[in-house]
Symmetry: C2
Subunit: 168 residues, 2 copies
C-alpha cells in the first residue's frame, strides 16, 4: 500500500524484468508481479492479456537498452558494436536468451535487426548474400548468449570477438 503510482503496462514490464533478474524464468509469477505493484493478481489482466504477453514484452524491453547509434563512418564498426552490445544485454539478463525463442518479435528487437542489416548493406552486401550474413551474425550472437548466459560455457569477450573476426 506504499505503492500509489498507477499500474501501467510499462510498470508491469519493468517489474517483470526485475523479477526475472532476481529469480530467472522461475521467478516471474503473475501473483508475485501483482504483489510488487500492490495490486491483486487478477488486476493485471486488465492491462495485459496473458503471462506470455508479459514475457514477450520483457524480452523486447531489455533490447531497448542496446544503444542504437547513428550510422557511423565505418559500417563494420557499426555492425560489430551492435552485436557486442546485443550479447552483453543478454548476459546482463541471463533469462533472456532462452526466451528469445518466442515467436513474437518486438519493436526493439526489430529496430536492432534492421540497423544490423543496413550496416551490412553499406558494407556492400546485397540480396541473398545480405540475408545470409545477417542471419549468420544474429544466430551466432543468440547462440553465444544462450550458452554463455547459462554457464554452459564461460563468458569470454575475447573469444566472442575472435568469432566475429572469423565471420566478418
Amino acid at each position: 500500500m506504499r505503492d500509489r503510482e498507477p499500474v501501467t503496462t510499462e510498470r508491469i514490464v519493468a517489474t517483470a524484468v526485475a523479477l526475472l533478474d532476481e529469480g530467472g524464468a522461475h521467478g516471474l509469477t503473475m501473483r508475485r508481479l501483482a504483489g510488487r505493484l500492490a495490486v491483486t493478481a487478477t488486476a493485471l489482466y486488465w492491462h495485459v492479456k496473458t503471462k506470455d504477453d508479459v514475457l514477450d514484452l520483457a524480452v523486447d524491453r531489455i533490447f531497448g537498452d542496446v544503444p542504437l547509434p547513428a550510422a557511423g563512418a565505418d559500417w563494420r564498426d557499426d555492425a560489430r558494436g551492435l552485436l557486442r552490445e546485443w550479447r552483453l544485454a543478454m548476459l546482463r539478463h541471463p533469462w533472456a536468451p532462452g526466451l528469445i525463442g518466442r515467436p513474437v518479435v518486438g519493436p526493439n528487437v526489430l529496430a536492432r535487426t534492421e540497423f544490423l542489416q543496413s550496416a551490412l548493406a553499406r558494407g556492400g552486401y546485397a540480396g541473398r548474400r545480405l540475408t545470409v550474413i545477417t542471419r549468420v551474425l544474429a544466430n551466432y550472437v543468440i547462440g553465444s548468449a544462450l550458452t554463455e548466459a547459462t554457464g554452459r560455457a564461460a563468458p569470454d569477450d575475447d573469444l566472442f570477438e575472435a568469432g566475429l573476426d572469423a565471420i566478418l
Copy 2:
C-alpha cells in the same frame, strides 16, 4: 492399467519427449507424465530427482538421434553433416532449442561436440583457432534452430547451408 512394463528412467524420458513433442514445454507435467505411465505422479520421484532432471534428460535424449558417423575421408563433410543433422534434430523437436540453455550437458551432446571438434582438428585447426571455429559453428546451429523452430524465421535449409559456406 494397460501399462505393465516396469517404469524405468528410460521410459520416463521417452514419454517426456513425446509429451513435449505434443504440447511444447507447456505440455510436460509430472502428473501427465505419470498418467501416461499408469502410475502416480509421486512415484516418478523414486526414479528421478526433479522435473528439471527430466528436462535435462529429454534434451540430451534427442541428440542421441543425431548420427555419429565414423570419421570419413573429408573432414569438412563430416563437420557439416553433423551440423546439418544437429539442426534437423532440433527442428523435429521445436521445444529443444529453448531448453538447450540449461546448464547441464548430457553425454549425447558432449559426444557430438567432440566429434565436431575432432573433425575440425583434422582440418588443421588447433589451439585457440580450433576453439573459436567450434564455438562459432555450434552457436550458429543453436541460434538458427532457436529462431527457426519457433517460426520467428521460416526454416530454410538452403539458407542454413549458405551460412555454413560463409563460415567454413
